[in-house]
């Protein structure tokens, strides 16, 4: 039985190695994505252009403007004296953010009266805007701290609607996201394609007619993909930590088991898709539309879930990648264990069992 199984796995590796496209997706994709997100699609900012509308013009407002620029995140490119100018600058794309400092800024602060800073940001690029708002929030808090002591923090409010990336580092967001995308791609899409290919070419019939138990056929088919996916997860995590300074505060065994769990979830989805389709084409479209799009769009990987309309927020709950990203971030950034992260673990396990049962049922139907 072991020899049979080994012959099967060996054959599956031959399929993968002989198919250039599969090989490229398997080995090239993780590197390409990590580099792309690490260097190009970063949401970290340096020297974002700012317009300042200083209605107060006193010493304290000058100090705030100075401090804004000191960190290197913002560069004041224009000082305006009318609100309309801000609109113009935004339209021309000359600024990303505008800060409006109310009149009597210093007086109010000294008198311990609450002050509201108005922060206008370009909502057409929501991620950038959010990041900048959070930078600004940081700066203004620090400013009040230094000026009046920490007890007076509440004096300046920025009303940041949400804090998307509190650590101000996009690597924390993209490493879990890339892992989710790559694992989904390899585990779910390539598995569904590979089973659909055997269906399309009719070789699946040959396997079914052989004495191989159906379970062994499935396990034999997915095992190479489990190994390769796991290898890829390690590569991405390694690159995230070594090259991009991703933090890893949690337990390694828990992290690796979580990756394995998500691989199983993705595989069960891939097997499920392949039991429902007849050709590679449909398998490809089903996994692109049904798996890749939600993974990229709804998992919170690129677009923050909190800023989605409510219906999409609800739908995002059935996206396995969302739970996996929560899990990964919880482990890597917060050092969380099973006690803190049992919800995503339970959801992913539940999904896996659900899809395995579902595909087992349709696989049996197919055999009948």
């Amino acid at each position: 039985m072991v020899a049979t199984f080994w012959a099967f796995v060996q054959k599956e590796f031959f399929h993968i190695l002989r198919d250039r496209r599969t090989l490229f997706v398997m080995l090239g994709m993780p590197f390409a994505l990590v580099l792309l997100f690490g260097y190009a699609v970063t949401t970290d900012f340096k020297h974002a252009s700012v317009a300042v509308y200083d209605q107060s013009g006193d010493m304290w407002s000058q100090r705030l403007i100075h401090q804004m620029q000191a960190g290197g995140y913002f560069s004041v490119v224009a000082s305006v004296s009318r609100k309309e100018e801000i609109d113009r600058l935004f339209r021309q794309g000359k600024i990303k953010v505008a800060v409006v400092i109310p009149s009597h800024f210093g007086e109010s602060l000294m008198g311990c009266e609450p002050v509201q800073l108005q922060l206008l940001s370009d909502g057409s690029e929501p991620n950038i805007a959010l990041t900048l708002v959070s930078y600004m929030n940081d700066i203004s808090t620090r400013f009040v701290n230094e000026a009046l002591g920490s007890s007076a923090q509440w004096l300046i409010s920025l009303q940041p609607r949400m804090v998307y990336n509190p650590a101000l580092r996009s690597v924390y967001m993209f490493v879990p996201g890339v892992i989710a995308v790559v694992l989904m791609l390899i585990s779910a899409m390539l598995t569904s394609l590979s089973i659909a290919r055997e269906k399309e070419r009719g070789t699946l019939n040959l396997l079914l007619i052989s004495p191989l138990p159906p379970l062994l056929i499935i396990v034999g088919k997915v095992l190479p993909y489990v190994l390769l996916s796991f290898f890829n997860a390690l590569v991405i995590i390694g690159m995230g930590i070594e090259v991009f300074g991703m933090r890893m505060w949690g337990s390694w065994p828990f992290l690796l088991l979580s990756c394995l769990l998500f691989i199983l979830t993705a595989l069960s989805l891939g097997v499920f898709i392949s039991t429902r389709v007849r050709t590679q084409q449909t398998a490809l479209f089903a996994s692109l539309l049904g798996l890749m799009l939600p993974t990229v769009l709804l998992s919170g990987y690129i677009f923050p879930i909190e800023s989605m309309p409510t219906p999409l927020q609800v739908i995002s709950n059935v996206t396995p990648a969302k739970w996996f990203i929560i899990l990964l971030k919880g482990i890597m950034l917060k050092g969380g264990g099973l006690d803190a992260l049992w919800v995503p673990v339970a959801v992913l396990s539940g999904m896996t069992v659900f899809f395995i049962l579902l595909s087992w049922k349709s696989f049996k139907l197919h055999v009948e």
Partner: protein, 246 residues
Amino acid sequence: MNHNTATIAVRELTRKFGPFTAVDHISFDVYAGEVFGFLGANGAGKTTAIRILTGLLMPTSGQAQVAGFDVWRQPEQIKRHIGYMSQKFSLYQDLTPLENIRFFGGVYGLSLRTIRQKSEMLMERLGMQAVAHRLVGTLPLGWRQKLAFSLALLHEPRIVFLDEPTSGVDPLTRRTFWEMIRTEAAKGTTIFVTTHYMDEAEYCDRVSIMVRGHIAALDTPQALKVQFGAEHMEAVFLKLTRPSEL
């Protein structure tokens, strides 16, 4: 051919799909070393019958024994003791002949040593040493077909099911292929073959023709031609399957 030992024994075998009866109370025996032609128009129930006999599908009622095993209770045993080949898909195109042998040998539980011996023997017998390391997809159809047939026999089954083994192959290649089949049958292997080519029916020891779930005729090609007053099997087949057109 030994008429005393039936390697396939079918009695009143029936399979229904909902209200539709695909196989309707068919009975026949196939003997050891016999080349048994299993003919019928598309949709006559051939495929369903083969799926039952190869352990892929349960019958609705009736009995069938294949290689001494019961289709109801021992489908797994049946799978182990039969060989199967179909022209459309019997080899992995992106594997070499040797890798295909290795895979199917492994699937049927042969030891690595046996597989290695058989590989050498097969490559030599088929004259394929030169292409042993080329991908099967690049080989001519005739070679692929011979290789597929040899693979179906790799674990030395007592019965081989050949499901349209020659479709799309030129007449000359078909003839040499049938020589291979006859040689194998002479060794005592039972050959259960379906085909669309009526000239091939002439190579069979006995032929059954299925029409709408029933076995409409079963005898030697010679006897069938006499019975239906026809010169070729083609005419016999047409008289049975499309009586209104004649």
